[in-house]
């Protein structure tokens, strides 16, 4: 069963194109300098339309998660973590943590993580995260 995938909109296309091209692209306000997520055409902090897209570090820490023991059919048959990472640039982002067991012992809050793009189709790669050395 094919994984449920996002359908980009004009306001989010730069993000998904970035993922396809191996770059985690965030937006920041050129007036108040706030970095924000999810994408939109203006700054949610000060409402300025003067915003820019930039390549973020792709690094952050594991902020919170649950381990889903009733997998969605397109996600396989084993329990998996539905996680939120806090990016070094500030925003939080939902994701999955890959490259480690899906257990409370392996998934320790505040551990450093880095992005790993996993190709799903020619257009869509998902920004997943894996444990990183601090």
């Amino acid at each position: 069963m094919a994984r449920i995938l996002p359908e980009p909109t004009p306001e989010t296309r730069h993000f998904w194109e970035g993922c396809r091209d191996g770059e985690l692209r965030l937006q920041r306000c050129t007036d108040c300098k706030t970095t924000y997520f999810p994408p939109r055409a203006f700054c949610p902090s000060c409402a300025s339309r003067q915003v820019e897209v930039y390549a973020a570090s792709g690094r952050g820490v594991l902020w919170s998660y649950v381990i889903n023991h009733r997998p969605r059919p397109d996600m396989g048959t084993e329990p998996y973590a539905i996680a939120v990472v806090k990016l070094d640039e500030g925003p939080t982002m939902m994701t999955n943590i890959v490259g480690c067991p899906q257990t409370p012992e392996a998934l320790v809050l505040d551990m450093p993580v880095k992005v790993r793009f996993e190709k799903q189709t020619d257009d869509i790669s998902l920004p997943l995260f894996e444990p990183a050395k601090s």
Binding site: R3, I4, L5, P6, E7, P8, T9, T12, W16, F37, P38, W63, S64, Y65, V66, I67, N68, H69, R70, P71, R72, D74, M75, P79, Y80, I82, A83, V84, T92, M93, M94, T95, N96, P104, L109, D110, L126
Partner: protein, 379 residues
Amino acid sequence: MKQNSVAVVGAAETTKMGKIPDVSVIGLHADAALNAMADAGLKPSDIDGVATAGISPVELAHYLGIKPTYADGTSVGGCSFMLHVRHAAAAINAGLAKTILITHGESGRSRVGAGGFGRAPSSLMGQFEMPYGVTSPPTMFTVPVLRYMKTYGVTEEDLANVAVVQREWAALNPRASFKDPITVNDVLNSPMIAWPFRMLMCCLVTDGGGALILTSADRAKDFPQKPVYILGTGESVETPLVSQMYDFTSSTAFKISGKKAFEEAGITHADVDHLMIYDAFAHLPLYGLEDLGFCKPGEAKDFIRERNTAIGGKLPLNTNGGGLSYMHSGMYGMYALQESVRQMRGTAAAQVKDAKISIAHGVGGMFAASGTIVFTNEK
């Protein structure tokens, strides 16, 4: 809103609750509405305002043959009914309508005439949460909780204890779905749903509904039931994505809604005799107690463990057994309101003696929205 200017004069749940395979969603709305009208001694032609969520107020009005001058379709999840009460109070004061019916009905378990739970893949949730394997609320509403637990040293036992204490209340309610006593160990040994959440930390999935009828306080004294006045109200909305909450250890919407309701009511926490906090999952009473200001951040777990919210405690909480044990059709806020009204009428199964002020606090979506209603039986 103006204190005590509007009252609840009709309140009822569906005739049956739990598993109702022979009634559709709109049928549950209508059953609750007819019961509430009977409670108030009214007919559909006496109603000039309608509000509902889940279905459209258009469907509701036409199904019941009501031709209203006021319709509210605010739909922000399970606390929508708190917002409907708030808006109805304002509308009655502004002269938009005189007698407003608010209904809920949901075939949560049997799914008769019910829609699906999907999200468009181009929506924010479709793009930024669905791809990571979220399913139903147990895998979304719970996502912030590990951060809360780490911040305040909250344990799995603390979460389990919320369910244990509420089951004690449920045992006093003949209509509660689950009445048998449970222990912390029972909760911690129940099937894993989404770690750290076990089945008994998650709400029921049942069928049912409820309805309220509001009118001006001046008219309320002419109705058959003891009027329950609206003393204060609050509402707020926060985020459609749980991953984008402003703070994973606190609901901003709870704080804004609660503060506004206390201000409107002109009361302090010590004035509150009875409290309902929408408990779709075991962490919600903890967040609610703290964000409403009954406890300092991180102290709700101790407050519950010390039995302040239990039978005989100083702040009886979720006295119907809550979404964890009483019933939960999907949008539970209506049942929290119903229990507050029963407590203020003095007709609750687990009646709090001499209770004069009751608060019903609701959550919508996954920490998406909030509504708070302060009721009193004194004018």
